[in-house]
Subunit: 145 residues, 2 copies
DNA sequence: CCGGATCCCGTGAGATACTG
DNA sequence: CAGTATCTCACGGGATCCGG
């Protein structure tokens, strides 16, 4: 893919700071469909946030997780954790005690996905301001136009 | 963050292949909330897919985009593109001709976000098999247990 | 008491038909 | 061609209930 025809050197340089690998568009279309499906599964904000929290804290209990993952409902936490367990991203350890104690931690696979998402977190942190400015400019245009 | 206490060397090595930057958990909590909000906005599958398609094709018309973004409805395409335009990720160019011609292309900001997501696409492609195996194992456990 | 399953309801996604 | 309008329905959130 020759991007130089479509973007300025500055834009490409900006992008290159974040680039980690080859562009995905050039995949076998057969596999592409499967990849899309998997992306649809893991690329939601709750999965990303849980991944991030678990990567930063190691092993966590259910209630502690629900406190740390800002704004999540128990239902979605349960549901997302179950999906992540099924996909091999987290392990769920039940300690047969009273009161119940259930701990969650990332697998190696989960950790690697967390690392893959890391670039997105950094992008968000570094470009907060720019996005905010773009939004204000857009709203101004919409208001006057 | 010392991850060595929680993961094996092999797991860390696996993660490191995908790692692009520092973990996000160590941010100023004030900014953290804003980052979460922004992540919630951009980290959905349609945004990711549009980003990917536009990064691979340059400039595209509405109908062509709807063909290339597998499974998207016009409504979600319109909505997502509008959001992305507002956030400064794409530019929308209307050519005043009959029939209408509207073209979309990434901005530098959009390209950089696409690059940040690149690691996730690669992860998905490389770990398809593992996730599938994890799912089968999980379902088998659920079935027998 | 903790973890989570269940029920009820509102929002928002998806399909279809229509318009400038 | 590039959207908007409308309908329907599934999914997400909140409250409540339950098993260990």
């Amino acid at each position: 893919m020759d991007v130089s025809a479509r973007f300025t050197a500055e834009e490409i340089e900006r992008a290159r700071r974040y680039a980690t690998a080859i562009p995905p568009a050039d995949l076998d279309p057969r596999i592409g469909a499967l990849v899309n499906e998997l992306i649809g599964r893991v690329a939601d904000k709750w999965t990303m946030m849980i991944l991030d929290i678990l990567a930063g804290h190691g092993e966590l209990r259910f209630t502690r997780l629900s406190e740390l993952v800002e704004g999540i409902s128990q239902k979605m936490l349960t549901q997302t954790l179950r999906q992540m367990e099924r996909d091999g991203l987290v392990v769920r350890t039940v300690h047969p005690v009273v009161p119940p104690k259930v701990e969650y931690r990332l697998t190696g696979l989960g950790l690697s996905l967390g690392s893959a998402f890391c670039g997105v977190w950094v992008w968000a942190a570094e470009n907060l301001e720019q996005v905010e400015q773009a939004r204000q400019a857009f709203d101004r245009r919409a208001g006057t136009g």
